[in-house]
Symmetry: none
Subunit: 438 residues, 2 copies
């Protein structure tokens, strides 16, 4: 089915609390993902306050340009809940009390032994030719309304105009979407193709260099290839539309293979995988126990590695040796080494990795020593400088030096340090980081 026969959709959120910044509009992202998954393109998200004039203006614009209009919010019982009354006025349609909704609203309050306010029954009003969407979790029913023959001829799109309205409470909206709205839309929409996405996740390479190496792929249209900057990592998204999930993966796979052949050494995982999870799985697969000695990261690397359920498989003792004295007394870092090279140095990183390895009797020792700032930096050793040490029986101990943007705040610099520590640990476990190779 050709691209241009698929529906154009937009999502409108109604509520002054959104424009005050008191609520983040997560509904739009949820509904967009849902629509993307069934091949419907979303062209706009808009949020508007509880103001009849502005709500009307937005709806009129939506009638002209969209086949599917999803509205969240403005269905509550109070006077500033305007979605249904405004729509009815705009489309010159009388409102009627929906008997089924009246019963459900009354039952809702009885079940919970709560007093009902008379305004609650306002929620049972809907346009005479609209259909209610059942709300199992709250009192506001939704609205499913085919307004194709009401929106006039002067439109920018061909095809139908369907309007669906949901409460703004995410839990209620999601249940109503899944159980009631999605099946009706699936039955009606013309494009039966589905969208499949694959994320490849990278560390140790910046967004622009990655973009340069993949420029030709990013110009192609099926599958599409696009970069996303994450928390101390970059993601490449590969997406394709096809009749079936299998057919979509057949479109994605050659591009994925090509990307990995070019920049695979920087790719640590796919889709929802985290770096700590990938490292944890490597440790488990190789039946290795890890011990971590941290200075500047203060326990963050250890904490990330224990975010994984079952981390006792590879963790039994980690240390935060923040002071020089602790590095010496706990890890046996020689005072002379500290005095000669300073705590943030290749020599100390190596001594810490070897020290925690010996103390813990683990299989692999990892150390981190650096300057997280904002104070403590010098010209020779600026904020953002970190050394990552790695030690293992039978291998030459190694320390990698990294410079992180000193303008980041302390917390984010710590996170970057932890990211590099896990990045190099991953390469080490894969045998890609032996001393003689670098």
């Amino acid at each position: 089915m050709a691209e241009n026969t698929s529906w154009k959709a937009e999502i409108i959120a109604v509520g002054t609390e959104l424009l005050m910044g008191e609520v983040i509009n997560s509904n739009a992202a949820y509904l967009s993902q849902e629509l993307a998954a069934i091949g419907i393109d979303v062209f706009y998200h808009t949020s508007v306050g509880d103001n009849p004039q502005r709500i009307k203006g937005l709806f009129q614009q939506a009638f002209r340009r969209s086949n599917l209009i999803l509205v969240t919010g403005g269905l509550g019982p109070t006077d500033d809940d305007l979605t249904v009354s405004t729509l009815a006025e705009l489309l010159d349609t009388p409102l009627a009390e929906d008997e089924g909704s009246v019963e459900k609203i009354k039952a809702f309050f009885i079940t919970r032994d709560m007093p009902m306010s008379s305004t609650n029954l306002k929620q049972a009003l809907r346009p005479v030719d609209g259909e209610p969407i059942l709300n199992r979790m709250g009192t506001a029913p939704g609205l499913y309304w085919d307004i194709t023959h009401k929106v006039g001829a002067e439109r920018e799109v061909e095809g139908p105009c369907l309007l669906l309205a949901f409460p703004g409470v995410p839990r209620e909206m999601k249940a109503m979407w899944t159980e009631e709205a999605l099946p009706r839309i699936l039955a009606q929409q013309p494009d039966k193709r589905i969208l499949v996405t694959r994320f490849l996740k990278f560390t140790g390479i910046g967004e622009s260099l990655l973009g340069e190496k993949l420029r030709d792929l990013m110009a192609q249209s099926s599958p599409t290839v696009s970069p996303y900057v994450g928390q101390a990592e970059v993601k490449i998204r590969i997406a394709a539309k096809a009749e079936t999930r299998e057919a979509a993966y057949q479109l994605i796979t050659p591009t994925e293979t090509e990307i990995l052949s070019r920049v695979g050494q920087y790719c640590f995982g796919k889709d929802e995988e985290t770096l700590e999870e990938v490292v944890a799985n490597l440790l488990r697969a190789k039946k290795l126990q890890l011990a971590v000695a941290e200075s500047c990261t203060g326990g963050l690397v250890s904490s990330r590695l224990t975010d994984i359920s079952g981390s006792s498989d590879y963790t039994f003792l980690n240390m935060v040796t923040y002071s020089n004295a602790a590095k010496t007394s706990q890890l046996g870092v020689p005072e002379a080494t500290l005095a000669t090279h300073g705590a943030v140095s290749e020599a100390v990183a190596k001594a810490m990795a070897e020290g925690i390895l010996e103390k813990s009797q683990a299989d692999v020792g990892l150390s981190i020593t650096g300057i997280a700032g904002p104070t403590g930096g010098t010209d020779a050793k600026p904020v953002g400088l970190v050394y990552i040490g790695l030690a293992q029986a039978g291998k030459e101990t190694l320390a990698k030096k990294v410079l992180v943007n000193p303008r980041y705040d302390r917390k984010y610099i710590k996170y970057w340090f932890s990211q590099y520590a896990l990045h190099y640990l991953r390469l080490w476990l894969l045998g890609l980081l032996d001393a003689d190779k670098h």
Copy 2:
């Protein structure tokens, strides 16, 4: 100054990833809060994809109806970053390379020892009569552009038209907003009334109980009082608008005092203060050194305490004794105690706190042992159970038992555990948690 002379603002987010639901538009909420705080009303949030036609249509609409247009996203180095080029075309203004931005982009890559791509310099292009907004944290400068004399006469609003563009990365956008954009806007905007907010932050009390105790205050209109649920904490927001900051605080202070008189014992801090910061300040004020022994939290408590700059004042050695063997060998927890009571017990929490105190020679020992799940729980010791131990010379060692909602995910349970550890440490340091008082 009357309300109707104040500026009308709107916020536009550019990026197909928003319409795919892959990114939630938290920038709009942040900027809305910021604008609300200086008395500027926001009338629309809109998100649009990387499509020149639709971006143009939105901008034209914004020129007609808004005095202040804030744009996030679309400033990156790749071909689908369209914000600046589209604006320049629409307003018939040539682009020029900004020398300062070129230097900053080059320096950014040199500092980090990363290869620069030629497309990075695209980010230095801006309309000849626009001004750059410095981006300390990334390569994309923002744009501050007074377009009042370019947008034509047929507008729905009176007054100026200012356009500001920011990168979509929240961290970069927020720093640019605070440091560069906000001061310029404050100097220009007509409504000089300002909104002042005060946040009081609570742990150890739930939102509903807090709401019950403050119900009458939450019904008042100036200042307004409203609850926000945060990350393992509850915030109460007190807000008032007045001509001056001082006048607003005069409205706020009596309500703040009243709230503290009712539930002050649960309030750990104000506004941006974090619990770790409050604890750090207490340790510094009392010149105490702390040592932490963690089991289930895996280093998270230690990491949070070292998020504070200058944490070497109170930190020199923390340990993650994840296994029973490590608890025994490193902290001297008797094997018999572990066998009799189990690792998650009051006895072991106390022994860990005393063990780390002795080993480190610190002034205060803090320990955490619990079950973060999702596996490892039993009927007697369910997921979500944690013991917090506290030891100090001259005081009786103490352990507090807490049950956290077992339905939270492992990472959030760890965070709750760390929050309770810091909560009880704070009470301990204040002398409110001695064994004989509980």
